[in-house]
Symmetry: C2
Amino acid sequence: MRVMGVDPGLTRCGLSMVVGGTGRQLSMLQVDVVRTPPEMELAQRLLRVADAAEAWMDTHEPEVVAIERVFSQHNVRTAMATAQAGGVIALAAARRQIPVHFHTPSQVKAAVTGNGSADKAQVTAMVTRILGLAVAPKPADAADALALAICHCWRAPMLERMAKAEAMAERQRRMYEERLAQQRKAVIR
Amino acid sequence: MRVMGVDPGLTRCGLSMVVGGTGRQLSMLQVDVVRTPPEMELAQRLLRVADAAEAWMDTHEPEVVAIERVFSQHNVRTAMATAQAGGVIALAAARRQIPVHFHTPSQVKAAVTGNGSADKAQVTAMVTRILGLAVAPKPADAADALALAICHCWRAPMLERMAKAEAMAERQRRMYEERLAQQRKAVIR
């Protein structure tokens, strides 16, 4: 599975491409951080981030894009900018019919370190080890983008199993209701 | 001036097109509300909103796009969705080299009603009167999108004057610094 991981942002946006093989073996194809100057107009910053992400999608053809879900941040302005950067990348994926999944920061940390409230250093250390990198990825946004992709590779089979289980439960519910309806008809006759 | 006004949102996104003539005369070309179902995937909802806004831009060829600036909302999830909808529309404008301006809700209310904390009913009443509409625009998102465009038409000349004054001040500052540098050289000689 080729997964594009995105740590969204306007000042720094982390992009990563990770390939998952059999079992838990994962390898990094590329990682980068797109930067836009804070004094640039918002629409132009979004354009630069979107252009970079689209170039990645067209070059690497990921099967899925995993983006960090932003819930809240201390700074409302930063939270909005983060949400907008993630939004334009999700849009670019949707235009290419590439499925998009969102993972929360704690889901990412838990997947990579086993601890949902791990600090940046722990995440970077585990990302370096999991991908067998010679040097730790820098800055933190690069490591976070890789962590996102790793998280998706490991959560995806579980999410798929959950979706199948839910579909199965739904089918059984319908069968049960049909049978009930038939019984009611039989009683009325 | 042809202004496209946007009240961003995913559940309901207000779009309007207003033409400003000489003086304060304004007229409405079109107004609509794009809706996406809450159960739809985020990336698909963004795609639908972006597609609708792009179709408007290609049909009406606005000279400027005015979008409501989201600062904060009670519901963080709603605020993020609003920011993302505004973001993909700003991106669409940037792709077409159409300038984007953001106005805060209180700037819009102040421009349209003279009161920065006016309620929805007041905004709708003033929008109806300013544009000379036979019936009040509905729902509130439609009225808000029109108010955004009106606000931009009226604020734009002021923003332009401010930009010119700032450019003038910057030129004078440079001239002053050059003269200071020349004086210093003369003293050293």
